[in-house]
């Protein structure tokens, strides 16, 4: 089977590898996640060694998996909210700005090929950065007692969550010619979906249920607990499918209008 989107994927990957922005963003992401992971470990160590502090914080028992593993992957998923827009902002906005978009659509590619090629390229770069974070697992195994199946699910969850973020970032990039606007738009959509469950506070029970079902945070948190649920994986796949579908429609609309 021939992957029609592969030429676009290859071109995008090359473009990413020569872009200094990507390395700066990756370095910042690793710095922030490393710093926060260090903070989580140090706090856990402090709680473990100081019974009074532990009582003050209301912990009867300290579980490494619950306190360190879950919090680490929660932090990673949260940081991705900020990092992904930086990776996806240029995907289509730059093409439109520089005029290469018209050239791209004149080539024998379907809209789906363009969208999938760009999506997988951005996702591959992000997955590579998440892959670098795999050394955190070694750190946890060396210095603590993590439940490795939980680590596996939480880590897998970060890859699933990242796919949804990239798809939304790509959609935002298709809506504008300005990269900064695309990044802000992606961030606003992601943050909105992340926080929408918190709107359930002023909502009645029925609406609260719907708002929580839409919440990125609620679904991503289940992975960090070591839970792999059809509902959560299905939710992120749904977000990816809808975002990519809408990106295709936006491209189609632009082509038809022209």
């Amino acid at each position: 089977m021939r992957l029609h989107f592969y030429p676009i994927f290859r071109r995008e990957i090359k473009s990413y590898l020569t872009s200094p922005t990507v390395y700066i963003a990756a370095g910042l992401f690793l710095f922030m996640s490393g710093l926060l992971f260090y903070g989580i470990l140090e706090n856990f160590s402090l709680l473990s060694g100081d019974a009074q502090y532990r009582r003050e914080m209301g912990f009867d028992k300290l579980n490494f998996t619950r306190h360190v593993v879950s919090n680490l992957y929660w932090v990673i998923n949260f940081l991705l909210l900020f990092v992904v827009p930086a990776f996806t902002m240029r995907l289509l906005a730059e093409e439109k700005k520089t005029g290469t978009f018209e050239l791209l659509v004149s080539l024998p590619f379907r809209d789906w090929d363009i969208v999938l090629g760009k999506f997988f390229a951005a996702y591959a770069v992000l997955a590579a950065i998440l892959g670098i974070c795999s050394y955190y697992v070694l750190v946890m195994a060396r210095f603590g007692t993590p439940e490795l199946p939980v680590v596996g699910i939480a880590y897998l969850g970060s890859f699933i969550v990242a796919a949804a973020y990239v798809a939304i970032g790509l959609l935002a990039s298709s809506l504008t010619e300005n990269q900064i606007v695309a990044a802000i738009l992606a961030f606003v959509i992601l943050l909105g979906l992340y926080l929408i469950g918190d709107l359930s506070t002023p909502a009645s029970a029925g609406v609260a249920g719907v708002l929580q079902a839409l919440s990125l945070r609620y679904h991503s948190e289940q992975f960090t607990h070591g839970l792999l649920r059809v509902q959560d994986a299905g939710y992120f796949l749904l977000v990816v499918a809808i975002a990519l579908f809408l990106t295709c429609r936006v491209l189609e609309l632009r082509r038809l209008r022209a």
């Binding site: 690793l30 439940e147 699910i153 609406v207 609260a208």
Partner: protein, 534 residues
């Protein structure tokens, strides 16, 4: 002037959005209507940004309809998927999954149940995660999560003082005439919610009366009292059992027969656990009347041997007479192990085997020991309407010791294998279940009695899972009021980690400085080199 329909629709959208938000503000919260109006308003107001050319209106309409259809189909698929939820819980003790006991119970739910959990906003996700599993496990379970301070109307439906953490479980009946039963629990944990459902489904409340006034095992925690009295701290009490029973929605009430003169009418069963003194004649008569009228009772009777004399101190003459009427014999003896390797106290630690009976259907493999046990056995001649089954017996290397010389010899640490002949050694019955039913009456009126020759196996000090299940099944068999589900707690493991200063410095260096810097600098160098090449 050119009329632009999209603009007009977008203005209407703005108005809808505005009115939805104003209504929300006036109401204090989003309702289904205000949220729907706001969402519709937001969607239509976005048309304001649509290009001016109205010639494209068909294009946009087609785009909108097509996208809606595809997205709607995807959402529908997701909702179907969500209803048949599957999950893999990677935690070691499966702390985010329902136990098989609960899942089996939910599959057999006889009628729909609705759970209303009042929680704070911080607990909302936790509540949803747990209750979602109940709803997924059974289509007959539905749930609502609400904030008692915001959903005041809903809270008032249940009680005037609803606080975060209160969970109400009610049966849902189709008939408007029948009143739904309501159970209230106050912990967001599986064991509480499952037993809350059991409680809501029950025809009536279970009330267990624990007899007091004969130096029984105390119902309350005895450590504080022992410490105050300057004694060695022990937990020979029933506080753990009491907590578990109350968690299952069962009322536990102390009862002094001497003071009250009768067993209250709402008693589901009477329990007498670890007394050191016999019933008075009047108390025995009161209890006999209660039992003959279809009462239920559990007797846990431990013998105790003062070390100085070797005599069996507790002589339960009135109790033995009472039980004899129902075909149960309570000899004034204790059971000892001949085969115990160490002389002395180990002779009295009796391994217990369970015989086939509804009470003994326990799959747990924990060992069960009675430390000091008295024989309990069926009478050779039973009343015509009574049936007595032995449900527990000692290991086959045991003998009966009567009060007097042999017991004294034992206390002096003699080797029992030299005292007894092999014919006297064997398995000795330690627990019986008696069912006495008048053929002209319904089974609900049957007298049910369970007797074990030991009480300490349910004390907080000694109880294990098997002992708890044996006790729980005994109550279940006695009261015959639906199920009591002993859900084991899924406590987390304590796995603290203390890092040394050197380890902390190493981790900081690697995770915060080295790795990010190496990735950033190497990447930048590579990208600049590639650019120069190009």
């Amino acid at each position: 002037m050119q009329i632009r329909p999209l603009r007009i629709v977008s203005y209407v959208g703005f108005l809808l959005l505005l009115s939805g938000l104003v209504a929300t503000g006036l109401h204090g919260r989003f309702t289904s209507i205000t949220a729907g109006v706001s969402a519709l308003g937001l969607a239509t107001s976005l048309l304001f940004f649509a290009p001016r050319a109205t010639r494209n209106i068909k294009l946009y309409a087609a785009f909108f309809v097509y996208s809606s259809l595809v997205i709607g189909t995807l959402v529908l698929l997701f909702l179907i998927l969500e209803r048949h939820g599957w999950q893999y819980d990677a935690t070691r003790n499966k702390r985010y999954s329902l136990t098989p006991i609960t899942r089996n119970f939910l599959k057999r739910l006889p009628q729909p149940v609705h759970i209303t959990a009042f929680v704070t906003e911080t607990e909302r996700d936790q509540a949803r995660l747990l209750l979602e599993q109940y709803a997924t496990a059974s289509p007959k379970v539905s749930y609502t999560i609400a904030n008692p301070f915001r959903e005041v109307g809903l809270a008032r439906r249940y009680s005037l003082q609803v606080m975060p953490g209160d969970i109400f479980i009610e049966t849902v009946t189709t008939s408007t005439e029948s009143r739904a039963r309501l159970a209230r629990v106050n912990r967001l944990r599986e064991e509480d919610i499952t037993n809350g459902i059991v409680q809501a489904l029950r025809d009536q409340d279970i009330v267990l009366y624990f007899l007091v006034g004969h130096d029984e095992l105390p119902l309350e925690r005895s450590t504080a009292l022992a410490t105050l009295a300057g004694q060695r701290v022990s937990v020979r009490d029933l506080s753990w059992v009491k907590d578990q029973l109350e968690r299952m929605g069962i009322r536990v009430v102390p009862l002094s027969l001497a003071q009250r003169g009768k067993v209250p009418g709402d008693a589901s069963a009477v329990l007498w656990v670890g007394p050191r003194a016999d019933l008075s004649g009047l108390e025995a008569q009161t209890l006999r009347q209660y039992l003959e009228n279809g009462g239920r009772a559990l007797f846990l009777l431990t013998p105790d041997i003062p070390q100085a004399t070797g005599e069996i101190a507790s002589v339960f003459r009135n109790t033995a007479d009472l039980l004899a009427r129902f075909g149960i014999l309570l000899p004034n003896e204790i059971v000892a192990r001949v085969g115990a390797s160490q002389p002395g106290a180990d002779h009295f630690s009796i391994p217990v085997g369970l015989l086939s009976h509804p009470i003994t259907q326990i799959s747990v493999e924990d060992p069960l020991f009675f430390v000091y046990a008295r024989p309990v056995q069926p009478a050779t001649v039973l009343p015509s309407d009574a049936r007595v089954d032995v449900i527990a017996q000692s290991s086959p290397d045991c003998v009966r010791l009567s009060s007097g010389e042999i017991a004294t010899a034992l206390v002096r640490k003699q080797d029992l294998s030299k005292v007894f002949s092999p014919q006297e050694v064997g398995a000795i019955p330690l627990g019986v279940a008696s069912l006495r039913l008048d053929p002209n009456q319904s089974e609900e009126k049957a007298t049910r009695i369970v007797v074990f020759g030991n009480a300490d196996f349910v004390s907080s000090e000694r109880i294990n899972q098997k002992a708890w299940l044996l006790f729980n099944n005994s109550i279940n068999w006695l009261v015959r009021a639906g199920e009591l589900l002993p859900i084991p707690s899924t406590d987390i493991e304590n796995t603290p980690v203390v890092l040394t200063d050197g380890e902390k410095q190493f981790l900081f260096l690697v995770m915060v400085i080295l790795v990010p810097t190496i990735v950033g600098l190497l990447g930048l160098g590579y990208s600049l080199a590639r650019r120069e090449q190009q």
